[in-house]
């Protein structure tokens, strides 16, 4: 690993990426005991094992359930605090889908809302100290983005048939320019799931790694106060980023949905 201890003697030890290691929940694994080439499989995470990723994914699903099912159970006319949080979130995403994808996009509102809540709470739970931020793994976000991509592509062809291809054949451009634009549009279409997933994972991962780098500087007494202030500041920024990235992921889903519902520029 590139994040080996640097300057171990001075107490300055950087391990910014260690927080992202996937570990089995019920078993300790020795470092370096997973090497398929040498026949060592003890330290490998087996596919059926619950890991810290499993735990925190399940917890974020549970928090969403608690907020939206248990929190709104009362259905009070004057909502309690939990109920109004749930209602405001619902209203915000509902308005967003309606504004960006149009009225007919509201049919797909449940999926978009599920995405938003899940990503939001996965991001926020990842900010609890000692927890595990599941959305920092490209494997997690790639699945979310890939389902959006596949769903939107299938939806576009089912709803519009071959008319969906107008997305790539820009009618408003001069004829000579259209093949060039078609290639550009095609590339940008297939880069969508990549940027969609890496934006979320990259932002979360980078923020958490920066906090850990500042944490390592706290070991030096002279700069410890500055370092701790920097951690506090970064943490505040990370809370903001967690919410904004969930918002951005959802709003991009709405934009892609709009393209599938109304292809052609």
């Amino acid at each position: 690993m590139a994040t080996e201890a640097q300057g171990e003697g001075s107490g300055l030890v950087f391990h910014p990426m260690d927080q992202f290691i996937v570990k089995p929940l019920f078993r300790d694994i020795a470092p370096g005991s997973c090497d398929a080439a040498a026949g060592l499989t003890d330290g490998c995470v087996r596919w059926y094992e619950p890991t810290n990723v499993t735990l925190w994914l399940a917890l974020s699903a549970l928090v969403v359930f608690a907020l939206f099912v248990l929190g709104t159970r009362g259905r009070a006319l004057i909502p309690s605090r939990v109920q109004s949080v749930a209602e405001l979130t619902y209203g915000m995403v509902h308005k967003m889908v309606e504004d960006v994808s149009g009225k007919d996009g509201l049919r797909y509102f449940p999926y978009v809302f599920t995405l938003f809540c899940f990503i939001l709470f996965a991001n926020l739970l990842g900010l609890i100290p000692k927890s595990f931020s599941t959305t920092s793994h490209i494997a997690v976000t790639a699945v979310l983005a890939l389902f959006v991509f596949l769903g939107v592509t299938i939806l576009g062809f089912v709803l519009n048939g071959t008319h969906f291809l107008n997305l790539f054949w820009v009618k408003s451009a001069p004829l000579a320019l259209r093949p060039v634009l078609a290639i550009i549009e095609l590339i940008s279409y297939f880069v969508r799931p990549v940027s969609h997933s890496i934006r979320l994972a990259g932002n979360i991962m980078a923020g958490h790694a920066v906090i850990k780098v500042f944490a390592a500087f706290a070991a030096i007494l002279a700069i410890a106060p500055i370092s701790i202030l920097a951690i506090v500041g970064m943490y505040g920024l990370e809370v903001l980023v967690a919410v904004i990235q969930a918002y951005v992921f959802t709003i991009l889903t709405c934009v892609y949905l709009k393209d599938a519902l109304h292809p052609g520029h």
Partner: protein, 80 residues
Amino acid sequence: MENVATYAELGKYLGAGLACIGMAGAAMGVGNVAGNYLSGALRNPSAAASQTATLFIGMAFAEALGIFSFLVALLLLFAA
């Protein structure tokens, strides 16, 4: 033979550092989006609220390319 491995290692770190220059472009892009949004919003505050979604979409697209350079740096450090 040892030298080759050392140079490959050196190249990885240099490449990761160089890839980070790409983030400067993303920084300019995001700053441009936010700055233009603000100057537009101050001229016509009543239209500002309806354009926040566009602001975030524009920021996300500008930021995506910076994230790509970050990804290249990560791939060089941990995967190459």
